[in-house]
Symmetry: none
Subunit: 131 residues, 2 copies
DNA sequence: CATCCGTGCATATTTGATATGCACAGTATA
DNA sequence: TATACTGTGCATATCAAATATGCACGGATG
């Protein structure tokens, strides 16, 4: 099992974000089940070589996002309703896409052109290098 | 006529942005006609009390946005593009899609899944009538 | 109370955006 | 071509926000 997180210091992303993303991933993928106790802040800080405060911040974001629940003195646990968050994000996605399509329609783009645009945008983000 | 720009130092917005917005506005409203020569970088820098470099940056953004065209040694001119509005919309679209992709990434969606989602959204809107 | 747990605060460090001066290059025209 | 306008590239200063930290403190549990 991979209870451990693998943070890369070479990654340009901030440490706290890496923690957030990896834990979010594990929860969403069902790797970490509902109500499972997360590694304590100090423990994770030790294994990942970052400060307690940084892990704390990551956990705070995860709680804000509804992925985990944390109780002072007890620990942090995988939220009992991670699906809610998922659905929320999906709603946001739908909404965001809807607005995008609104604009695309104003531009008289065909559906095919819209898909092409999305495709291009994905490629752009895959290779942000410009030299 | 109001060829002059009115920059407020008290405004929280950065100077270069104020320049960009005010010029964009004048062009969109037809206040400044196609091919009209803009005030030179140095002239505008003098009247607005900011550095040449800052005006230069504003003009660079305006050119990037397709609002103006600038030629070294000659000056800057209101773009001849009749589809300025369209270009601006195009930018909005890009921006909107970028945000959507941000969310999709959070959902751990693959690029293929993202495209599928857009496809579904398009189909949804094609026949929203249900009564 | 001993020992785990999370938390609040003040602060250092890093990063990116904004703004600048100056020397240099392109263009027009007399 | 001389001159007097244009815009441009670069190295740098300033500033604000993001990121990361140590330490002292409060809560939970056996």
């Amino acid at each position: 099992m991979s209870d451990d997180l693998f943070l890369s210091a070479t990654d340009k992303k901030p440490m706290y974000l890496q923690i957030v993303e990896q834990i979010t991933s594990k929860v969403l993928l069902g790797d970490w089940p509902t109500n499972m106790a997360l590694p304590s802040i100090r423990e994770l800080a030790a294994t990942t070589k970052v400060s307690v405060i940084t892990v704390k911040r990551a956990y705070a974001e995860l709680e804000q996002a509804g992925v985990i629940v944390t109780q002072a003195g007890r620990g942090s646990f995988v939220s009992a309703q991670p699906d809610l968050q998922l659905q929320l994000l999906q709603q946001q996605l739908q909404q965001q896409l809807d607005q995008a399509i609104d604009i695309a329609k104003q531009l008289q783009l065909t559906e095919e052109q819209i898909l092409d645009t999305v495709q291009q945008q994905l490629e752009l983000r895959r290779e942000p290098r410009r030299e």
